[in-house]
């Protein structure tokens, strides 16, 4: 049962980072494929093959490069680098706060990329992305605080090996994290900024001016990000690797289910509901924990 942790501990920090760098795109792409297949099945369609996201990215890499200005691809490359950096830090077992803040920095570069072009659709998407970031960021930080309260450390490697089940101490924080995870996965009802299906409303939002290889890079970054987020879900169940892996997969399936069942929220509702949920579930959990610990 603990062979996963023994294997993990036998690797050096650089090796752990390398494993993440190599494996995460395959896992993320596979999950994206499962997502599309499952979404299609839930809608009564046959759906594309599970390998479809890889086909899409390979095709996008073969398309012509169209760059609107110098800063556009610069921001996207930084978005990619910082996402990969935060993922590598996380899976190497480094500080979870550093992971969270470098992920936020990656998001900021993505928004700057959206603002650097002239398209009003892109600007609208970038503004919505900002709103989304303001909505989810408090809960992500509260998650780190909650984990510190239980385990007494911010180090991911030590949090994951904490013998007690974190989920029993942090049910509210987990519920709040689940809520904002829908925003991070860019699923309905929170797919305001760059939905796959929003073309009637804001074309592709923040992605409007990105085409070909740049779009492929964004897609790959998104895979890395998804793996990192599921890794954070894993932390809550770290006491047993099999339960934790099962919980991560179940969370992903749950997000697909939510995606299929909800229409898109307005940004006001997104903002108000996620802060309300953060306050009710997250903050109250941390206050209670403060008194019982």
């Amino acid at each position: 049962m603990n062979s996963i942790y023994e294997l993990y501990q036998s690797l050096s920090i650089l090796e752990r980072m390398l494993v993440f760098l190599v494996l995460a795109p395959f896992v993320g792409g596979f999950l994206a494929g499962v997502d599309r297949k499952l979404s299609a099945r839930l809608q009564g369609r046959y759906g594309p093959p599970v390998r479809q996201p890889f086909f899409d990215v390979l095709k996008l890499l073969q398309k012509e490069r169209i760059v609107v200005n110098k800063f556009q691809n610069f921001s996207i490359v930084l978005f990619f680098l910082f996402t990969v950096f935060s993922g590598a830090l996380f899976f190497a077992g480094a500080d979870i706060l550093l992971t969270i803040f470098s992920l936020a920095l990656a998001g900021t570069f993505f928004i700057l990329g959206g603002f650097s072009v002239g398209s009003p659709y892109s600007h609208l998407g970038a503004e919505r992305e900002l709103i989304q970031m303001v909505s989810y960021e408090p809960m992500v930080i509260l998650m780190a605080v909650g984990m510190y309260q239980v385990t007494g450390t911010f180090k991911t490697a030590e949090i994951v090996q904490h013998p007690g089940p974190l989920i029993l101490f942090l049910p509210g924080v987990f519920a709040g994290f689940l809520y904002i995870l829908t925003i991070k996965f860019r699923k309905s009802p929170f797919d305001l900024s760059m939905s796959h299906h929003a073309h009637q409303e804001i074309v592709r939002g923040i992605l409007t001016e990105f085409s070909g290889p740049a779009l492929a890079l964004i897609e790959i970054t998104h895979w890395y990000e998804n793996v990192l987020l599921l890794g954070m879900v894993y932390l809550f169940f770290g006491f047993n690797p099999w339960i934790a892996l099962g919980a991560s997969v179940a969370t992903f399936l749950f997000e697909i289910f939510i995606d299929m069942n909800y229409a898109r929220f307005k940004w006001q509702l997104t903002f108000a509901s996620s802060w309300l949920f953060t306050a009710v579930a997250g903050v109250s959990n941390i206050i209670v924990l403060h008194f019982i610990k």
């Binding site: 369609r45 046959y46 594309p48 479809q52 086909f55 095709k59 073969q62 592709r204 070909g212 779009l215």
Partner: protein, 149 residues
């Protein structure tokens, strides 16, 4: 080898169509025909599209829009004319305000006949367009290699 066959993304533009062919294009997205099983996505953004599905007889107002959309698409790209209006102008071809077909304005690669074109033939046309996309990609690659040497 190109990957265009496995993931052709489609942009649909209604150039003064009666909405008949457009409805059929949308119908091919539904569970009955489900074009996403071929990896085809209806994007709505010219910068992400590989194939332009144009319907209608193209009047004076829509010429410029059609040209803009085509120019914004990154290479390689293919145009599919869907429906008889897009092929020849059909019953509207003598009207004073229509161009009479998409190929009067832009180089059309695949013609999908029918009034309205049936979803099956639209899917067939898009898959034919994929082969042309592959060819165009191969040509581009060859000409690029020539300029490099």
């Amino acid at each position: 080898m190109g990957w265009f066959k496995r993931s052709p993304w489609v942009l649909h533009y209604n150039a003064t169509s009666c909405n008949g062919c457009d409805t059929e294009v949308i119908v091919s997205l539904t569970p009955l025909y489900d074009i996403e099983r071929f990896g085809i996505i209806n994007t709505g953004n010219p910068k992400h599209a590989d194939i332009l599905l144009a319907t209608g007889s193209v009047n004076e107002k829509s010429v410029q829009v059609l040209k803009n959309l085509y120019e914004q698409m990154p290479n390689p790209k293919v145009i599919v004319a869907v429906g008889l209006c897009a092929i020849s102008g059909c019953v509207f071809q003598d009207c004073y305000n229509v161009q009479g077909g998409v190929d009067k304005v832009l180089p059309v690669d695949v013609y999908v006949p029918g009034c309205a074109a049936r979803p099956e033939s639209i899917i067939d046309g898009v898959l034919k367009a994929c082969d042309i996309l592959e060819e165009k990609y191969a040509q581009r690659k060859k000409s690029y290699a020539r300029t490099q040497s």
